[in-house]
Protein backbone atom coordinates (compact mmCIF):
# COMPACT_ATOMS: atom_id res chain seq x y z
CA UNK A 1 0.00 0.00 0.00
CA UNK A 2 1.37 3.44 -0.90
CA UNK A 3 0.55 6.86 0.52
CA UNK A 4 -2.22 7.60 -1.99
CA UNK A 5 -3.93 4.25 -1.36
CA UNK A 6 -3.63 4.74 2.38
CA UNK A 7 -5.12 8.23 2.21
CA UNK A 8 -7.95 6.98 0.00
CA UNK A 9 -8.75 4.36 2.59
CA UNK A 10 -8.67 6.73 5.59
CA UNK A 11 -12.40 6.38 6.20
CA UNK A 12 -11.82 2.73 7.05
CA UNK A 13 -9.25 3.47 9.73
CA UNK A 14 -11.76 4.63 12.30
CA UNK A 15 -12.30 1.28 14.00
CA UNK A 16 -8.84 -0.12 13.67
CA UNK A 17 -6.48 -0.48 10.76
CA UNK A 18 -6.11 -3.35 8.38
CA UNK A 19 -2.81 -5.21 8.30
CA UNK A 20 -1.94 -3.42 5.07
CA UNK A 21 -2.65 -0.04 6.56
CA UNK A 22 -0.70 -0.81 9.70
CA UNK A 23 2.30 -1.95 7.67
CA UNK A 24 2.29 1.29 5.72
CA UNK A 25 1.81 3.45 8.81
CA UNK A 26 4.78 1.77 10.49
CA UNK A 27 7.07 2.77 7.66
CA UNK A 28 5.64 6.16 6.65
CA UNK A 29 5.99 8.97 9.19
CA UNK A 30 3.95 11.41 7.05
CA UNK A 31 0.89 9.15 6.84
CA UNK A 32 1.33 8.15 10.45
CA UNK A 33 1.32 11.82 11.48
CA UNK A 34 -1.73 12.48 9.30
CA UNK A 35 -3.67 9.62 10.87
CA UNK A 36 -2.58 10.82 14.32
CA UNK A 37 -3.89 14.31 13.56
CA UNK A 38 -7.19 12.95 12.27
CA UNK A 39 -7.67 10.85 15.39
CA UNK A 40 -6.90 13.88 17.55
CA UNK A 41 -9.46 15.96 15.68
CA UNK A 42 -12.04 13.18 15.97
CA UNK A 43 -11.48 12.83 19.70
CA UNK A 44 -11.58 16.61 20.25
CA UNK A 45 -14.78 16.86 18.23
CA UNK A 46 -16.35 14.17 20.35
CA UNK A 47 -15.74 16.28 23.43
CA UNK A 48 -17.69 19.26 22.12
CA UNK A 49 -20.65 19.76 24.32
CA UNK A 50 -24.03 19.11 22.84
CA UNK A 51 -25.35 22.34 24.26
CA UNK A 52 -22.83 24.52 22.44
CA UNK A 53 -25.17 25.76 19.80
CA UNK A 54 -25.69 28.94 17.84
CA UNK A 55 -28.50 31.40 18.18
CA UNK A 56 -31.66 30.50 16.28
CA UNK A 57 -31.28 33.56 14.09
CA UNK A 58 -27.99 32.29 12.71
CA UNK A 59 -29.38 28.83 11.99
CA UNK A 60 -32.40 30.45 10.43
CA UNK A 61 -30.26 32.60 8.14
CA UNK A 62 -28.19 29.61 7.08
CA UNK A 63 -31.31 27.58 6.50
CA UNK A 64 -32.85 30.34 4.35
CA UNK A 65 -29.64 30.77 2.36
CA UNK A 66 -29.34 27.03 1.75
CA UNK A 67 -32.99 26.83 0.68
CA UNK A 68 -32.50 29.76 -1.69
CA UNK A 69 -29.55 27.93 -3.18
CA UNK A 70 -31.73 24.84 -3.55
CA UNK A 71 -29.37 22.84 -1.39
CA UNK A 72 -32.01 21.92 1.20
CA UNK A 73 -35.77 21.58 1.11
CA UNK A 74 -38.31 22.76 3.70
CA UNK A 75 -38.49 20.37 6.64
CA UNK A 76 -41.55 18.29 7.34
CA UNK A 77 -44.06 19.58 9.84
CA UNK A 78 -42.90 19.41 13.41
CA UNK A 79 -39.23 19.34 12.56
CA UNK A 80 -36.89 22.28 12.40
CA UNK A 81 -33.30 22.77 11.45
CA UNK A 82 -33.11 25.24 14.31
CA UNK A 83 -31.53 23.66 17.36
CA UNK A 84 -32.13 24.46 21.01
CA UNK A 85 -30.78 27.51 22.82
CA UNK A 86 -29.01 28.44 25.95
CA UNK A 87 -25.29 27.87 25.79
CA UNK A 88 -23.05 30.31 27.50
CA UNK A 89 -20.33 29.37 25.00
CA UNK A 90 -22.55 29.93 22.02
CA UNK A 91 -20.54 32.96 21.03
CA UNK A 92 -17.54 30.78 20.48
CA UNK A 93 -19.13 28.04 18.49
CA UNK A 94 -22.00 29.35 16.45
CA UNK A 95 -19.66 30.97 13.99
CA UNK A 96 -18.24 27.57 13.01
CA UNK A 97 -21.12 26.61 10.73
CA UNK A 98 -21.51 30.22 9.65
CA UNK A 99 -17.84 30.42 8.76
CA UNK A 100 -18.04 27.11 6.91
CA UNK A 101 -21.01 28.34 4.93
CA UNK A 102 -19.22 31.62 4.31
CA UNK A 103 -16.11 29.95 2.99
CA UNK A 104 -18.24 27.65 0.86
CA UNK A 105 -20.08 30.61 -0.61
CA UNK A 106 -16.93 32.64 -1.17
CA UNK A 107 -15.35 29.68 -2.90
CA UNK A 108 -18.45 29.48 -5.04
CA UNK A 109 -18.24 33.20 -5.77
CA UNK A 110 -14.60 33.01 -6.78
CA UNK A 111 -15.22 29.93 -8.89
CA UNK A 112 -18.22 31.47 -10.62
CA UNK A 113 -16.32 34.64 -11.22
CA UNK A 114 -13.46 32.70 -12.69
CA UNK A 115 -15.78 30.63 -14.90
CA UNK A 116 -17.56 33.78 -16.01
CA UNK A 117 -14.33 35.47 -17.03
CA UNK A 118 -13.02 32.34 -18.72
CA UNK A 119 -16.23 32.08 -20.72
CA UNK A 120 -15.91 35.72 -21.63
CA UNK A 121 -12.47 34.94 -22.94
CA UNK A 122 -13.66 31.89 -24.84
CA UNK A 123 -16.89 33.27 -26.23
CA UNK A 124 -16.02 36.91 -26.74
CA UNK A 125 -18.87 39.36 -26.50
CA UNK A 126 -21.45 36.57 -26.34
CA UNK A 127 -20.19 35.55 -22.94
CA UNK A 128 -22.74 34.38 -20.43
CA UNK A 129 -22.50 36.40 -17.26
CA UNK A 130 -23.34 34.29 -14.25
CA UNK A 131 -24.71 35.97 -11.15
CA UNK A 132 -22.31 35.53 -8.27
CA UNK A 133 -23.60 34.49 -4.89
CA UNK A 134 -24.80 37.65 -3.18
CA UNK A 135 -23.36 38.80 0.12
CA UNK A 136 -26.78 38.32 1.68
CA UNK A 137 -26.67 34.66 0.85
CA UNK A 138 -23.38 34.24 2.62
CA UNK A 139 -24.19 32.68 5.95
CA UNK A 140 -26.66 35.38 6.87
CA UNK A 141 -24.01 38.09 7.06
CA UNK A 142 -26.61 40.75 6.56
CA UNK A 143 -25.51 44.28 7.45
CA UNK A 144 -28.93 45.13 8.84
CA UNK A 145 -28.68 42.24 11.28
CA UNK A 146 -25.40 43.57 12.57
CA UNK A 147 -26.75 47.09 12.94
CA UNK A 148 -29.76 45.72 14.77
CA UNK A 149 -27.51 43.75 17.12
CA UNK A 150 -25.59 46.85 18.12
CA UNK A 151 -28.62 49.17 18.22
CA UNK A 152 -28.67 49.24 22.01
CA UNK A 153 -24.96 50.02 22.34
CA UNK A 154 -23.60 53.47 23.17
CA UNK A 155 -23.42 55.98 20.30
CA UNK A 156 -19.61 55.72 20.29
CA UNK A 157 -19.64 51.94 19.92
CA UNK A 158 -22.37 52.09 17.30
CA UNK A 159 -20.39 54.61 15.28
CA UNK A 160 -17.29 52.45 15.60
CA UNK A 161 -19.10 49.39 14.28
CA UNK A 162 -20.75 51.31 11.47
CA UNK A 163 -17.33 52.60 10.42
CA UNK A 164 -15.85 49.12 10.64
CA UNK A 165 -18.71 47.68 8.61
CA UNK A 166 -18.25 50.37 5.98
CA UNK A 167 -14.51 49.69 5.81
CA UNK A 168 -14.86 45.95 5.54
CA UNK A 169 -17.50 46.31 2.81
CA UNK A 170 -15.08 48.53 0.92
CA UNK A 171 -12.44 45.87 1.38
CA UNK A 172 -14.77 43.26 -0.11
CA UNK A 173 -15.73 45.48 -3.03
CA UNK A 174 -12.11 46.34 -3.81
CA UNK A 175 -11.09 42.69 -3.53
CA UNK A 176 -13.93 41.66 -5.83
CA UNK A 177 -12.79 44.26 -8.32
CA UNK A 178 -9.25 42.88 -8.28
CA UNK A 179 -10.49 39.30 -8.73
CA UNK A 180 -12.68 40.40 -11.62
CA UNK A 181 -9.74 42.15 -13.27
CA UNK A 182 -7.27 39.35 -12.56
CA UNK A 183 -9.23 36.10 -12.30
CA UNK A 184 -6.10 33.96 -12.37
CA UNK A 185 -4.31 35.92 -9.67
CA UNK A 186 -4.13 33.60 -6.68
CA UNK A 187 -3.22 36.47 -4.37
CA UNK A 188 -6.29 38.41 -5.47
CA UNK A 189 -8.53 35.46 -4.67
CA UNK A 190 -6.86 35.05 -1.35
CA UNK A 191 -7.41 38.73 -0.68
CA UNK A 192 -11.14 38.31 -1.31
CA UNK A 193 -11.27 35.36 1.06
CA UNK A 194 -9.49 37.43 3.68
CA UNK A 195 -11.92 40.31 3.19
CA UNK A 196 -14.86 38.00 3.83
CA UNK A 197 -13.00 36.52 6.78
CA UNK A 198 -12.71 40.01 8.24
CA UNK A 199 -16.43 40.57 7.82
CA UNK A 200 -17.22 37.24 9.45
CA UNK A 201 -14.99 38.21 12.36
CA UNK A 202 -16.73 41.57 12.69
CA UNK A 203 -20.08 39.82 12.92
CA UNK A 204 -18.75 37.23 15.33
CA UNK A 205 -17.32 39.75 17.76
CA UNK A 206 -20.18 42.24 17.40
CA UNK A 207 -22.79 39.58 18.13
CA UNK A 208 -20.66 38.49 21.03
CA UNK A 209 -20.64 42.04 22.39
CA UNK A 210 -24.40 42.14 22.28
CA UNK A 211 -24.88 38.85 24.13
CA UNK A 212 -24.75 39.95 27.78
Amino acid sequence: MNCVELQNSLAEIEDGSSAEQQDHLKTCPQCSALVGDLKLIASAAAKLRGADEPSPRVWNSIEIALRQEGLVHPPRAGRSLIPSLGSRWAWARWMAPAAAALLFAVGLYVRQNSISVQRAGNEGSAAVSEQPVSDLAIAGLNDDDLLQEIAHETPAIKTQYEDDLHRVNEYIQDAKGIVAANPNDEEARRSLMEAYQEKAMLFELAMDRSLP
Binding site: K47, R88, W89, W91, A92, Q160, Y161, D163, D164, R167, V168, E170, Y171, D174, A175, I178, D185, E187, S191, E194, A195, Q197, E198, M201, L202, E204, L205, A206, D208, R209, L211, P212
Partner: protein, 285 residues
Protein backbone atom coordinates in the same frame (compact mmCIF):
# COMPACT_ATOMS: atom_id res chain seq x y z
CA UNK B 1 -24.86 70.45 57.68
CA UNK B 2 -22.80 72.35 55.14
CA UNK B 3 -22.80 71.56 51.44
CA UNK B 4 -19.21 70.37 51.68
CA UNK B 5 -20.04 67.93 54.45
CA UNK B 6 -22.94 66.53 52.48
CA UNK B 7 -20.67 66.05 49.48
CA UNK B 8 -18.03 64.28 51.57
CA UNK B 9 -20.63 61.99 53.13
CA UNK B 10 -22.03 61.17 49.71
CA UNK B 11 -18.57 60.37 48.31
CA UNK B 12 -17.74 58.28 51.38
CA UNK B 13 -20.97 56.34 51.04
CA UNK B 14 -20.27 55.74 47.38
CA UNK B 15 -16.73 54.52 48.04
CA UNK B 16 -17.90 52.32 50.91
CA UNK B 17 -20.59 50.84 48.70
CA UNK B 18 -18.06 50.10 46.00
CA UNK B 19 -15.67 48.48 48.46
CA UNK B 20 -18.41 46.34 49.90
CA UNK B 21 -19.56 45.29 46.44
CA UNK B 22 -16.05 44.39 45.22
CA UNK B 23 -15.00 40.89 46.14
CA UNK B 24 -12.16 38.51 45.51
CA UNK B 25 -12.35 34.82 44.68
CA UNK B 26 -9.59 32.28 44.32
CA UNK B 27 -9.89 28.84 42.74
CA UNK B 28 -7.33 26.04 42.43
CA UNK B 29 -7.42 23.12 40.04
CA UNK B 30 -5.02 20.24 39.59
CA UNK B 31 -4.49 19.35 35.96
CA UNK B 32 -2.23 17.12 33.88
CA UNK B 33 0.15 18.08 31.14
CA UNK B 34 -1.19 20.02 28.17
CA UNK B 35 -4.31 21.08 30.01
CA UNK B 36 -6.94 23.32 28.45
CA UNK B 37 -8.11 26.50 30.15
CA UNK B 38 -10.95 28.60 28.76
CA UNK B 39 -12.00 31.93 30.22
CA UNK B 40 -14.97 33.91 29.00
CA UNK B 41 -15.18 37.30 30.65
CA UNK B 42 -17.50 39.76 28.93
CA UNK B 43 -16.13 42.77 30.78
CA UNK B 44 -12.69 43.01 32.31
CA UNK B 45 -9.10 41.96 32.03
CA UNK B 46 -7.54 38.51 31.84
CA UNK B 47 -3.85 38.01 32.49
CA UNK B 48 -2.23 34.60 32.22
CA UNK B 49 1.22 33.63 33.46
CA UNK B 50 2.93 30.30 34.09
CA UNK B 51 2.42 28.47 37.38
CA UNK B 52 4.78 26.08 39.06
CA UNK B 53 3.69 22.49 38.74
CA UNK B 54 0.45 21.24 37.29
CA UNK B 55 -1.81 23.72 38.99
CA UNK B 56 -4.24 26.25 37.66
CA UNK B 57 -4.84 29.18 40.00
CA UNK B 58 -7.61 31.65 39.25
CA UNK B 59 -7.67 34.98 41.09
CA UNK B 60 -10.77 36.96 40.28
CA UNK B 61 -11.77 40.44 41.39
CA UNK B 62 -15.51 40.92 40.99
CA UNK B 63 -16.56 44.53 40.83
CA UNK B 64 -20.12 44.04 42.07
CA UNK B 65 -22.60 41.44 43.16
CA UNK B 66 -24.18 41.55 39.72
CA UNK B 67 -21.64 39.09 38.43
CA UNK B 68 -20.57 35.62 39.52
CA UNK B 69 -17.72 33.36 38.53
CA UNK B 70 -18.79 29.93 37.32
CA UNK B 71 -16.06 27.34 37.14
CA UNK B 72 -16.02 23.76 35.98
CA UNK B 73 -13.33 21.18 35.54
CA UNK B 74 -13.85 18.33 33.18
CA UNK B 75 -10.82 16.07 33.15
CA UNK B 76 -7.91 18.14 31.94
CA UNK B 77 -10.03 21.09 30.94
CA UNK B 78 -10.94 24.03 33.15
CA UNK B 79 -13.66 26.42 32.11
CA UNK B 80 -14.23 29.81 33.74
CA UNK B 81 -17.19 31.98 32.96
CA UNK B 82 -18.12 35.41 34.29
CA UNK B 83 -21.83 34.97 34.73
CA UNK B 84 -23.67 38.26 34.38
CA UNK B 85 -26.76 38.58 36.54
CA UNK B 86 -29.80 40.68 35.59
CA UNK B 87 -28.98 44.38 35.49
CA UNK B 88 -25.24 43.90 35.01
CA UNK B 89 -23.47 46.30 32.69
CA UNK B 90 -19.91 46.99 31.62
CA UNK B 91 -19.07 48.50 35.03
CA UNK B 92 -20.95 46.30 37.45
CA UNK B 93 -20.32 43.17 35.38
CA UNK B 94 -16.58 43.64 35.35
CA UNK B 95 -14.29 40.90 36.59
CA UNK B 96 -10.50 41.11 36.47
CA UNK B 97 -8.66 37.80 36.34
CA UNK B 98 -5.07 36.93 37.13
CA UNK B 99 -4.51 33.34 36.19
CA UNK B 100 -1.59 30.97 36.61
CA UNK B 101 -1.48 27.92 34.37
CA UNK B 102 1.12 25.24 33.58
CA UNK B 103 3.37 26.65 30.87
CA UNK B 104 2.34 23.95 28.41
CA UNK B 105 -1.40 24.57 28.83
CA UNK B 106 -3.61 25.68 25.96
CA UNK B 107 -5.51 28.82 26.82
CA UNK B 108 -8.57 30.41 25.27
CA UNK B 109 -9.30 33.90 26.54
CA UNK B 110 -12.25 36.00 25.62
CA UNK B 111 -13.23 39.44 26.78
CA UNK B 112 -15.09 42.12 24.88
CA UNK B 113 -13.32 44.94 26.66
CA UNK B 114 -10.06 43.31 27.71
CA UNK B 115 -7.22 43.84 28.13
CA UNK B 116 -5.95 40.32 27.46
CA UNK B 117 -2.39 39.32 28.35
CA UNK B 118 -0.44 36.09 28.11
CA UNK B 119 3.23 35.59 28.80
CA UNK B 120 5.94 32.96 29.19
CA UNK B 121 3.79 30.10 27.91
CA UNK B 122 4.40 27.48 25.26
CA UNK B 123 0.96 26.01 24.79
CA UNK B 124 -1.46 27.07 22.10
CA UNK B 125 -3.46 30.19 22.74
CA UNK B 126 -6.50 31.95 21.38
CA UNK B 127 -7.25 35.50 22.52
CA UNK B 128 -10.36 37.28 21.30
CA UNK B 129 -12.17 40.48 22.11
CA UNK B 130 -13.84 43.19 20.07
CA UNK B 131 -12.24 46.15 21.77
CA UNK B 132 -9.67 44.31 23.82
CA UNK B 133 -6.05 45.31 23.88
CA UNK B 134 -4.07 42.10 23.37
CA UNK B 135 -0.50 41.61 24.57
CA UNK B 136 1.44 38.39 24.19
CA UNK B 137 5.09 38.11 25.11
CA UNK B 138 7.85 35.57 25.63
CA UNK B 139 5.99 32.69 24.06
CA UNK B 140 7.55 29.83 22.14
CA UNK B 141 6.53 26.86 20.07
CA UNK B 142 2.83 27.69 20.13
CA UNK B 143 -0.11 28.28 17.87
CA UNK B 144 -1.24 31.82 18.60
CA UNK B 145 -4.58 33.05 17.30
CA UNK B 146 -5.77 36.58 17.99
CA UNK B 147 -8.94 38.33 16.88
CA UNK B 148 -9.99 41.89 17.66
CA UNK B 149 -12.23 44.42 15.98
CA UNK B 150 -10.50 47.61 17.07
CA UNK B 151 -8.29 46.53 19.93
CA UNK B 152 -4.56 46.91 19.33
CA UNK B 153 -2.47 43.74 19.29
CA UNK B 154 1.17 43.49 20.38
CA UNK B 155 3.24 40.33 20.17
CA UNK B 156 6.76 40.49 21.58
CA UNK B 157 9.40 37.79 21.51
CA UNK B 158 7.23 35.00 20.14
CA UNK B 159 9.51 32.30 18.81
CA UNK B 160 8.80 29.38 16.52
CA UNK B 161 5.10 30.19 16.51
CA UNK B 162 2.25 29.47 14.20
CA UNK B 163 0.66 32.89 14.39
CA UNK B 164 -2.57 34.20 12.96
CA UNK B 165 -3.74 37.69 13.90
CA UNK B 166 -6.94 39.28 12.59
CA UNK B 167 -7.72 42.82 13.63
CA UNK B 168 -10.19 44.89 11.72
CA UNK B 169 -9.00 48.34 12.70
CA UNK B 170 -6.62 47.81 15.60
CA UNK B 171 -2.91 48.41 15.14
CA UNK B 172 -0.88 45.20 15.09
CA UNK B 173 2.73 45.28 16.29
CA UNK B 174 5.04 42.30 16.08
CA UNK B 175 8.45 42.56 17.74
CA UNK B 176 10.89 39.65 17.34
CA UNK B 177 8.21 37.29 16.15
CA UNK B 178 9.09 34.29 14.02
CA UNK B 179 7.91 30.84 13.10
CA UNK B 180 6.71 28.63 10.29
CA UNK B 181 3.67 30.86 9.74
CA UNK B 182 3.15 34.47 10.74
CA UNK B 183 0.00 35.92 9.26
CA UNK B 184 -1.66 39.25 9.98
CA UNK B 185 -4.87 40.36 8.31
CA UNK B 186 -6.26 43.82 8.89
CA UNK B 187 -8.86 45.94 7.20
CA UNK B 188 -7.70 49.40 8.20
CA UNK B 189 -5.23 48.93 11.03
CA UNK B 190 -1.53 49.58 10.69
CA UNK B 191 0.82 46.59 10.79
CA UNK B 192 4.34 46.93 12.20
CA UNK B 193 6.86 44.12 12.06
CA UNK B 194 10.31 44.40 13.61
CA UNK B 195 12.53 41.36 13.36
CA UNK B 196 14.49 39.11 11.04
CA UNK B 197 11.69 36.98 9.55
CA UNK B 198 13.24 33.80 10.96
CA UNK B 199 14.90 31.32 8.68
CA UNK B 200 12.28 29.39 6.75
CA UNK B 201 8.80 30.63 7.52
CA UNK B 202 5.96 32.19 5.62
CA UNK B 203 5.16 35.77 6.64
CA UNK B 204 2.02 37.35 5.25
CA UNK B 205 1.10 40.87 6.35
CA UNK B 206 -2.06 42.14 4.69
CA UNK B 207 -4.08 45.29 5.23
CA UNK B 208 -6.72 46.82 3.04
CA UNK B 209 -6.13 50.46 3.86
CA UNK B 210 -3.67 50.34 6.75
CA UNK B 211 0.05 50.99 6.31
CA UNK B 212 2.54 48.17 6.65
CA UNK B 213 6.03 48.75 7.96
CA UNK B 214 8.68 46.05 8.28
CA UNK B 215 12.00 46.87 9.93
CA UNK B 216 14.74 44.27 9.57
CA UNK B 217 18.24 44.03 11.05
CA UNK B 218 21.42 43.47 9.08
CA UNK B 219 21.85 39.89 7.99
CA UNK B 220 18.17 39.22 7.39
CA UNK B 221 17.46 36.68 4.65
CA UNK B 222 14.08 36.65 2.98
CA UNK B 223 12.29 36.47 -0.34
CA UNK B 224 10.10 39.54 -0.27
CA UNK B 225 7.21 40.60 -2.42
CA UNK B 226 5.28 43.76 -1.70
CA UNK B 227 2.33 45.16 -3.55
CA UNK B 228 -0.08 48.01 -2.95
CA UNK B 229 -2.79 48.60 -5.51
CA UNK B 230 -3.22 52.29 -4.74
CA UNK B 231 -0.67 53.05 -2.03
CA UNK B 232 3.04 53.70 -2.22
CA UNK B 233 5.67 51.03 -1.75
CA UNK B 234 9.19 51.80 -0.54
CA UNK B 235 12.17 49.61 0.20
CA UNK B 236 15.39 50.87 1.73
CA UNK B 237 16.94 47.41 1.81
CA UNK B 238 19.08 46.16 -1.07
CA UNK B 239 17.17 43.41 -2.83
CA UNK B 240 18.39 40.97 -5.44
CA UNK B 241 15.67 41.34 -8.06
CA UNK B 242 13.80 38.25 -9.21
CA UNK B 243 14.28 37.30 -12.83
CA UNK B 244 10.80 35.83 -12.95
CA UNK B 245 7.85 37.47 -11.22
CA UNK B 246 4.26 36.32 -11.13
CA UNK B 247 2.84 39.84 -11.16
CA UNK B 248 3.72 42.98 -13.03
CA UNK B 249 6.13 45.16 -11.07
CA UNK B 250 4.86 48.71 -11.25
CA UNK B 251 7.44 51.19 -10.02
CA UNK B 252 6.42 52.66 -6.68
CA UNK B 253 3.56 50.21 -6.29
CA UNK B 254 5.37 46.90 -5.94
CA UNK B 255 8.73 45.24 -5.50
CA UNK B 256 9.94 41.69 -5.37
CA UNK B 257 13.38 40.34 -4.57
CA UNK B 258 15.68 38.53 -2.21
CA UNK B 259 17.63 40.01 0.65
CA UNK B 260 20.49 38.15 2.25
CA UNK B 261 21.04 34.50 1.46
CA UNK B 262 18.29 33.01 -0.68
CA UNK B 263 19.07 29.46 0.45
CA UNK B 264 17.98 30.09 4.04
CA UNK B 265 15.32 32.66 3.48
CA UNK B 266 11.73 32.96 4.55
CA UNK B 267 8.94 34.02 2.25
CA UNK B 268 7.54 37.44 3.03
CA UNK B 269 4.40 38.81 1.41
CA UNK B 270 3.38 42.40 2.19
CA UNK B 271 0.14 43.42 0.60
CA UNK B 272 -2.19 46.39 0.84
CA UNK B 273 -4.89 47.94 -1.28
CA UNK B 274 -4.50 51.60 -0.43
CA UNK B 275 -2.04 51.63 2.47
CA UNK B 276 1.66 52.41 2.21
CA UNK B 277 4.20 49.63 2.47
CA UNK B 278 7.68 50.34 3.77
CA UNK B 279 10.50 47.83 4.16
CA UNK B 280 13.49 49.31 5.88
CA UNK B 281 16.65 48.41 7.69
CA UNK B 282 16.87 48.86 11.45
CA UNK B 283 18.99 51.87 12.31
CA UNK B 284 22.35 51.00 13.89
CA UNK B 285 22.45 51.72 17.62
Amino acid sequence: MSGRTITLVAIGTLIAGTLVAESRKEYHFNVGSKAGISVNNPYGSISVKPSTGNTVVINAVLHSDKVEVDNTQSGNHVEIQSHLLPGADAVSGRVDYEILVPADASVTLHSTTGPLRAEKLHGDMTLEGAGATVEIRDVSDAHVHVKTVNGPVTLTNVQDGHIEVDSLSGEVTLNQVDGPLVQVISTSGKINYTGDFGSSGEYRLTSHSGDIEAIVPDGTSADVSARSVKGEVHDDVPLQPKTHTWFAIQEGRAFMGTMGRAAVSSTVVLRSFSGKIHLRKRAAK
